[in-house]
Amino acid sequence: MTADLSLLLPLAVLWPMLLASLSLLPGWGPRMVTLLPLGPLPGLAAAVITPRDTPVALPGILLDGGLELTGTGALFLGGAALLWFWAGVYAAFYLRHDGRPTSFALFWNLVLAGNLGVFIAADIISFYVFFALVSLLAYPLVIHDRKPASMRAGTVYLVLAVLGEVAILVGLMLASYGAGGAIGIEAVRAALALPSTHPAALGLLIAGFGIKAGLMPLHVWLPVAHPAAPVPASAVLSGAIVKAGIFGLVAFLPLGTPALGAGTVLMILAFTGLFLAALLALGQAGAKSVLAYSTVSQMGLVMGVLGYALAQGSAPATLLPALALFTLHHGLAKGALFLGVGLAPTCGRAWRWGLMAVLAVLGLSLAGGPLLAGALVKSALKDPAGALGATLIGLSALTTALAMARYLAVLPRSKPRRRPPVLMALAFLALAGAALWLPWLLYADLADKSPLATDLRAQITDAWPLGLAVLLIAGAAAVGLKPPALPEGDALGPVQRRAAALTVAARAAMRAGSRSLRRSRPKPQTVIAEDLDRVEDIFREGAAAAILLLAVTGAILASVLI
């Protein structure tokens, strides 16, 4: 029986791939968009009933790969599959008249396969394959509407994704070599703690996964790419796909062996992101951009705790359950908040108030409002975060609450007299419900104590930053204070402009330089190419002589050297 259940793991990945290939059949695109919710079902089932820590070998696949569901992986897998499912329900309705159904269904399912695969890979090669799927194939989802802004966002996304891929590949190579060529994830993680392993390995992995998870200052792609995608795709990008980066850190950071340097750097960058991103969110004009920055901020919290644990050498068991629960809550809540953006225009009159109320509760929960699921998961994460971390997490309630208020303020206007479509509303409510309820359900299992046993009074007194936030928001609203308008992707704009200016300057300099050598060239920007062409041509004309000459020179050189 157990053997049968573990077959759910390969199925979790293969099933969406099958759906993806079906969408390539001529004329099947719209049909497969309707069937989007089917993709994550085997993954969801696997997260619930597949036995933990039982490897499934896949002989012959890649370098004899395998899959395995760890306890932490199950939480990531379950949360992601649930979000993908409801986002799929939402998308099936939201994109029912979409002009590019084939592309959407194809890449949605492939990214889904990669996303779930990352959480269950047992060896680094499978992991890397799944990571590449989720990372690179999300590009078509980002640029789905083909608007110029989306195309620009897509380019930024792709450039950073490719850089991240290469960083991770080199990091994994170094680490695997350190493990004597082993490719099991556990062996590689153990090798990363060894002093004999190349020190760059850990840094490259942190950078590579940091790009995906929005580690400041590698986050620049995230606030431009997440809002560019269609609403359901934004929801999974921000709720589930960034978690692939977090899970990469969880899987490979050698927790339990102190790595002071790498851990401290990670902690400082991440906690900076926690506050800075939330503040940057305040200057955003679009609701999705606000949410994207909030994701950077919340992932900063997670990575900050990971960095602290890495620096301290905390045992993984003290940290990972709470961390997984936090990301589960964030994924579902953030997914619901994104779906809310698409729902807002359809909610006329009374519906609007209902929507705003649910969104406000979700936002409050993200900020750690007392008695809500968010407060529960945050309190669980404070222990492993150390004294400083716990204080910062407590303070972050203020900035998160402000960002959430900003989100509610810039939510798209409703068109009067419209009622929300049932399927979209259902998906939204189901996700919101799951976000608020699942942490309570799972807490007892993970923390070995009932959620009611936590100090509820402490939760309320610890919520003073929230109170401050409420006062600030009320004050700002009263005096009509407007936040500054900041561009999406903050540092990106200036960097791009500088880069463009530098390129222009370099070209001008090259042109000037070549003009001094040679008058009037037809296409100045290709001078280097043409110069090289010329050199190669000269060589070509006298090839026979040149080759023999080279051989002789080589011979003479060798005889002199030896």
Binding site: Y128, A132, V170, S176, G181, R540, A544, L548, A555, A558
Partner: protein
């Protein structure tokens, strides 16, 4: 069968060549049938040989050519790796070439030399002695020249002339090298490496430089690569073969033989020749990529990409570590199937829509989706993205470099990946995301003239390059076979 098999592999293409030369142009269907029939038969023979060789049999044919200089055709596992690659890709290219040329002029001549070319490549693979190797290597040079100059226009003739002047000069250097070595140690048999003790290090180094320099011309090592981009004047099926298996691979294969079966890795390491060669290969990898980035012509960009990718094989061979050898040899196969895909697609695009410049690629994905899908698989594989086969090569090369204490090679691989991404991803972007220009034929119009045989070979090789990555650990996958080779003696 034991001695007969290698001869059969040489004899079959000879039959096809004779038939092609003999049949007049108007009997094109007979000629096509003969070519396809022979190609299929060869594939069956190779399938049998793969099974037998895995079971441990070694097929050998020997003939006394000159006193003490036997002609030897020997099918060891390494030879069979190259033979299998060339036979499979030859079948694909034959199908493709028949569709590509349709009823063009001078096809009897073309297919005749085409088959002589496969004969030579198979011979190069199976050669058991240095002299045999040289004979087939030269035959390959001469049989390829009419293919490169096939179109007969000025550009093609110039390309043919340049091709000959490079390769013949290379051959002179190579011949000088092996004759010098033979004068010291007698006939060189790959199965029984010569005893090089007692020969001064300087002499050995000079011979090594002569041989590698000569072979490096065909393998397009920097700065001997100049003929390759020029040979782009050849028709697409020829370019596909040239880049994937015939010429450049013969050079790379020869270098592998020199390092592992003539000198032996111990001697190469003692002489300190591995590192300079690895450095030269790295320079070629980066230089080829940078030059590819500068090209505006699609086939030229692919050509410089070949310059870069073939040096992966040489890099793997020269690093002298178990994983590096595997990475290099497996790339011999992986690069072949991926690059032939790219070239066949480029040829199909030029044939159907007149696309030659990269700027013309806009919207090609919408008009020819299967072709561009195959092209995309090849391109992603070249970048080294999983699960396409190129990733497997890169992984083994990277670990292999670390095993040989050459961490800098990992940086070269990473840089090359980024450069590959920089020159391949914009092509995919144009093809899939930009709208086609107004003067392109409409989809419906294209559909009426579609020739499935022009697209099928590329689709098959694209699927094979995906399969070689995804099922890398199955028996008879390129990786599994190369691992057998490495375990059979190259891991010392």
């Amino acid at each position: 069968m034991m001695t007969f098999a290698p001869l059969l592999l040489v004899f079959l293409p000879l039959v096809a060549a004779a038939v092609s030369f003999a049949l007049p142009e108007r009997l094109s269907s007979w000629r096509n049938a003969a070519n396809l029939g022979v190609a299929f038969t060869k594939l069956l023979v190779v399938a049998y040989l793969l099974n037998a060789t895995e079971a441990g049999l070694v097929f050998e044919w020997r003939y006394e050519f000159l006193p003490d200089n036997d002609l030897v055709l020997r099918l060891d596992k390494l030879a069979l790796l190259f033979v299998t690659l060339s036979v499979f890709l030859w079948l694909m290219t034959t199908i493709y070439a028949i569709a590509y040329f349709d009823r063009g002029p001078n096809l009897s001549r073309f297919f005749g030399f085409f088959n002589l070319c496969v004969l030579a490549a198979t011979g190069v693979a199976m050669s058991g002695t240095a002299i045999t190797f040289f004979l087939f290597y030269e035959l390959l040079t001469l049989a390829t020249w009419p293919l490169v100059a096939h179109k007969g226009d000025d550009k093609s003739l110039r390309a043919g002339r340049i091709y000959l002047s490079y390769t013949l000069a290379g051959s002179v250097a190579f011949l000088a090298g092996i004759l010098w070595l033979q004068s010291l140690v007698g006939a060189i048999e790959f199965a029984a490496p010569p005893d090089l003790t007692g020969i001064p290090a300087l002499t050995l180094t000079l011979i090594f430089i002569l041989c590698i320099g000569g072979l490096g011309v065909k393998a397009a090592i920097f700065p001997l690569h100049g003929w390759l981009p020029e040979a782009m004047a050849a028709p697409a099926p020829v370019s596909a073969l040239l880049h994937a298996v015939a010429v450049v691979k013969a050079g790379a294969f020869g270098i592998v033989r020199m390092i592992y079966d003539v000198y032996g890795i111990g001697t190469v390491a003692d002489l300190g020749l591995g590192l300079p060669l690895a450095a030269l290969a790295s320079v070629t990898i980066l230089y080829g990529s940078v030059r590819a980035l500068m090209q505006t012509d699609l086939k030229k960009r692919l050509a410089y990409s070949t310059v870069s990718q073939v040096s992966y094989i040489i890099l793997g061979a020269s690093l002298i570590g178990p994983y590096a050898v595997i990475g290099g040899l497996v790339h011999l196969v992986h690069q072949g199937i991926m690059k032939i895909t790219l070239f066949m697609c480029a040829g199909a695009l030029a044939n159907r829509m007149g696309i030659k410049a990269i700027a013309d690629l806009d919207g090609a994905g919408r008009l020819m989706p299967v072709t561009m899908a195959a092209f995309s698989v090849g391109a992603l594989g070249m970048i080294g993205l999983p699960p396409v086969a190129g990733f497997i090569s890169k992984w083994y090369l990277g670990i292999g470099a670390l095993q040989s204490d050459a961490a800098w090679v990992v940086a070269v691989l990473a840089g090359s990946s980024l450069l590959n991404a920089a020159y391949f991803l914009p092509l995919l972007y144009r093809a899939w995301l930009l709208p086609p220009p107004a003067d392109r034929p409409a989809i419906r119009e294209l559909a009426t003239t579609r020739d499935r045989m022009l697209i099928l070979p590329a689709a098959v090789t694209a699927l094979v390059s995906l399969g070689a990555g995804i099922f890398a650990s199955l028996p008879f996958s390129p990786l599994a076979w190369v691992t057998l080779i490495a375990e059979g003696g190259y891991l010392r």
